[in-house]
Symmetry: C2
């Protein structure tokens, strides 16, 4: 059938709360805009662990295996201490990224004028910021071998990990960056530490090679990762598409998220390879985590998850007008003053998670 299969997995902490609002949004697009999709909800984390001994039970694994797109909530937090590390690891987010080969993690960074009061950067620095960080997600030091903890002859302990990239791993994520740049302002900035790391020397050489071979129409620049962290805070408007390895992308995207002043609002997409039917597995999730301190209180910001639905509409469903419609509805809700606690100015009225969902649905 032509139906696109979406697995909806709220997970832990505030994940289920924010995902419930995205679910309402998905239902609206299915009903009102005839978006051809089937939704299947599945559980992840402590609750299925207590029932089945697995954080990721068979049923959830099956739902995710057969899905074209996974809408993911969040994982982690204090409650996870009730789950033994081995059970946790068996179904971890890192494991899923690896299992589905979700190598290209897209994190758009957008400044919302409506939120500049709650951002740490000055409005004149933030104004007009609009770039995408593409983080390589299935290699680098997160997955490199050998890794471990050993005891040395003198009794000391030593922890070690391997940072590594092969040319093919670099090429495919760099390709995603160049292709995305062509649909935007045509600029790619590649970030590495080639003045110190051999891994980065290969990274830079291969990005340059691919650029010469296939993307010489795109403007390509390079920054060392320390300088990149600085430039993201100093003058974030200079960037269009930034591409980097796994650990650098982890750090830089959180730095950029906060610079934009709206961590709770940022969406992400993690994309796998295109298969022989032209399909591309994808996992969509808000950039924020499980926020255990506010879980269950009904006050979390659902916009990061809702904007992840917009990415799903654009990238998996190929419905750019519907994606625009949803992003516009979010802006309308914000412009009308809708604020959850994390983005509210002092003294302003604070909406609950459900009320923010209402505000977006009303604007649709």
């Amino acid at each position: 059938s032509n139906m696109v299969k979406v697995a909806v997995v709220g997970g832990e902490g505030i994940g289920p709360e924010v995902t419930a609002q995205s679910r309402r949004v998905l239902d609206w697009f299915a009903a009102k805009r005839n978006v051809p999709m089937t939704l299947r909800e599945a559980q992840y984390g402590l609750i299925p662990y207590l029932a089945t001994g697995k954080v990721l039970p068979e049923d959830t694994a099956e739902a995710m295996d057969e899905a074209d797109a996974i809408l993911w909530g969040a994982t982690g937090g204090p409650e996870t201490t009730e789950v033994p590390a081995a059970a946790r690891k068996a179904g971890s987010l890192l494991g899923l990224r690896s299992k589905y080969d979700l190598y290209a993690n897209l994190r758009p960074i957008m400044a919302s004028p409506a939120l500049s009061a709650s951002a740490p950067l000055k409005p004149e620095v933030l104004d007009g910021v609009d770039f995408v960080i593409i983080r390589e997600l299935t290699s680098g030091i997160y997955f490199g071998e050998p890794r471990g903890i050993e005891t040395l002859p003198d009794g000391q302990r030593r922890g070690f990990n391997t940072e590594q990239y092969t040319t093919n791993q670099i090429r495919r994520v760099a390709r995603s960056a160049f292709e995305l740049a062509r649909t935007r302002r045509n600029k790619v900035c590649s970030v590495d530490k080639a003045n110190v790391l051999e891994t980065s020397v290969v990274w830079r050489e291969e990005v340059i090679r691919l650029h010469k071979e296939e993307f010489s129409d795109v403007e390509l620049t390079h920054l060392y990762v320390d300088n990149a962290a600085m430039q993201i805070v100093r003058e974030p408007r200079q960037f269009d598409v930034m591409v980097t390895g796994n650990i650098f992308g982890d750090i830089l995207s959180d730095c950029a998220a906060m610079a934009s002043g709206s961590l709770g609002m940022l969406p992400s997409a993690s994309l796998g390879p295109v298969d022989r039917f032209g399909r591309r597995k994808a996992l969509y999730e808000p950039v924020h985590g499980s926020a255990p301190d506010i879980a269950g209180k009904g006050i979390a910001n659902p916009l990061g998850s809702i904007l992840s639905v917009a990415m799903l509409l654009r990238l998996t469903l190929n419905r750019p007008e519907d994606a625009d419609l949803l992003e516009q509805a979010v802006q309308t809700a914000l412009a009308s003053g809708a604020r959850t606690a994390d983005i509210a100015e002092a003294g302003a009225k604070k909406l609950s998670t459900v009320q923010m969902g209402d505000a977006v649905l009303n604007a649709l």
Copy 2:
């Protein structure tokens, strides 16, 4: 003799220009405050390379070997392309850090109220920021083995590096952090990525162990590196002393430097182990680099280097009153409106490097 030996090495790019102003300041303290030190100037970089075939000639190596403290300018930039990589490597800054075992790199981050107009963060976020990042400087992925570039059986190339820490390497830098915190607001935040890296698991366990054994009076917290990057931008006032590994410290300190709005003003100290005579080799340098684009123009900001002299007075010479005096003179110069181009508001008068040196000396 009781004379403290200081080697003054301007190096490359703007290094010699800014260091010339620090040299004037050192001379002032020797003459007017009877600070017991001997100064020895030495060359580093392209100029000695052309004369001797070495970026770090014998004479300079000897001056640095015998010195208690090295006042370092900067290295790197386009001109270095005239020096073959092997010659460059033989005398590199990384090599010096390693040779003198300068494992504790202190980078104070201070917001100057006088500069808040040129900072990207809002004044209400910056106001009162005063913390120190201690970066481990002689281990981690910068020095870990094995490392290299190999060709795989399928013809691909692969770059690889080893991140690693032993318990002794962690303990000594964590000790520096706890000891420094006791002289300040008594708070240490240790930064790692223990949710992913075994190296960080050992890091965190050992920091906790040392804290329990010897420093339980100090408040200790832990952050993952991605969250730390975010918190430095969101609410930098929360930090007192932050301690972290080599590559994380590289990224976070540049991020923090820019958050403070005054990269050109930030000093640093890199400290080695205490020897059996109670002496501790140290290298002082501004956090900024060689800035080849403005080298030779006489417009670089010398305050990062001059404030490094204040650290030298405090840490190597044990002259806290003189360090305070110098820091106060810098604040006085700034308060009277002295600005180099990098920290000047639009339309304001811009001082040259020498004029900024004059302004500080006048304030002394």
